[in-house]
Amino acid sequence: MSSVTPGELPDSEGKGKSPRHEWPLWEVFIRGQHGLNHRHVGSLHAPDAEMAIKNARDVYTRRNEGVSIWVVESRHISATAPGEKGPLFEPSESKIYRHPTFYDIPDDVGHM
């Protein structure tokens, strides 16, 4: 995932964040053959969604890696900040009773 704040489509005078008329950045998600979720595989530049999908096909599925492609413009993705890692994720570390191995079931009960 990119950290760069991707520009809006540059306006025709070339003002704003992307003065050089660079195409917007897209994030690419591919679903493999075996029914897994779409997974982020990388980024690319494209002028619009249609071209982003065509480019994603050429760049990320040359070896049969996928049967479905999602693209989303990077600027539409909201993400957690690295600094929030502690407050967000530490609370789950201490809750070991959420895992099945926390509970001792006697062998006599059989498989559970």
């Binding site: 990119s2 950290s3 489509l9 002028p47 760049v59 040359r62 690295p82």
Partner: protein
């Protein structure tokens, strides 16, 4: 190695006691093999060195398409042509993965392209040598991609997350490249006398330039010491070069070809081959822009960039219009 002589801060490794709290926390994460991600704090030198290194690597993949593209229309069979096309297409993909990784460090794709064209950013010296015969396609895959793999496999463990993930993708695809090269060499080496001569000639011309790909000895280099502390360089140039020679010599023997080095010999004590260094004056001269194909390669890139301008502009105009229509419809 596709990145050569990448300059770091030039100051050597900062001693721990002189580091700021942020730097120390950063170095601890690197030492613990925790990946650094784009939005994490990182020293400015780390960011800049990585941009230089990944950018140079990306440019090498793209410029590296040129010597091979040279033979697509002249491949000896339709199958060979399709394979070569697929390989050259892979190189474009590798360039794109790497450009995307570099962009996460805050440089734009256009900036990188312009710095390549202005000569501010470099690409690997190897691509400034010409590909004169079909056997060169074999030598490039076998030796050039082989040397690149030596460097790229350890870089899968590099500290910077996006770079590491790009390397993992690239390594998966790169072994096809080396094997197809060796396959061409086998065919030529087992062919007619004329074909054998072409195979030997290709090895003669590509051997030393391949050894140069790892860069000159960096045992004393402050740049390398810093890059290794940051885990953006995993081995010294000499280590990788030795590994490459040790791996490649038996492969040449299998082909019945002779490595063009009178001093090449197995050293029982070291458990490695002894070999001659390439001509480092030639290397520096090629880096300066005076290799056989420097001007040709850069002018091909310049031409592609200039002639693609209307495509970039046209598609952007189209996207702008569609976006405006969508807004109007809402």
């Amino acid at each position: 190695m596709y990145a050569q002589m990448v300059k770091s801060t030039g100051k050597g490794v900062t001693p721990r006691e002189e580091m700021s709290d942020e730097e120390r926390a950063f170095q601890d994460r690197v030492d613990a093999d925790i990946k650094i991600e784009p939005r994490d704090w990182m020293p400015e030198g780390y960011r800049k060195t990585l941009i230089r290194q990944i950018g140079q690597h990306a440019h090498s993949e793209i410029v590296g398409q040129l010597p091979e593209g040279n033979w697509i229309t002249r491949a000896p069979t339709l199958e060979r042509k399709m394979i070569l096309l697929a390989k050259v297409q892979d190189e474009a993909g590798h360039g794109l993965y790497l450009y995307a990784a570099a962009e996460t460090l805050g440089i734009t794709r256009d900036d990188m392209t312009e710095q390549l064209l202005s000569g501010k950013m470099k690409y690997s010296s190897i691509f400034n040598y010409p590909t004169l015969t079909w056997a060169d396609m074999g030598a490039v895959g076998w030796l050039v991609d082989g040397a690149a793999i030596m460097n790229q496999v350890p870089l899968q463990r590099t500290s910077y997350g996006p770079y590491s993930r790009a390397m993992i993708r690239i390594c998966k695809e790169e072994s096809f490249h080396q094997r197809q090269g060796y396959d061409i060499m086998m065919k030529m080496a087992q062919g007619s006398e004329a074909q054998k001569r072409m195979a030997q000639d290709a090895l003669n011309r590509f051997w030393y330039p391949s050894l140069m790909m790892f860069g000159p000895s960096d045992a004393e280099s402050v740049h390398s010491a810093q890059s290794m502390a940051w885990k953006i360089k995993m081995n010294t140039n000499d280590e990788l070069r030795q590994k490459f020679v040790d791996q490649t010599v038996p492969q040449a023997e299998f082909l019945g070809l002779t490595v063009p080095d009178e001093n090449l010999k197995w050293n029982e004590d070291r458990g490695h081959y002894d070999f001659s260094q390439p001509d480092w004056d030639e290397f520096f001269n090629v880096l300066k822009g005076n290799g056989p194909c420097n001007a040709e390669r850069l002018s091909a890139r310049q031409k592609a960039w200039d002639e693609g301008q209307w495509v970039r502009d046209g598609l952007l105009a189209h996207a702008r219009k569609s976006a405006a229509r969508k807004v109007a419809a809402e």
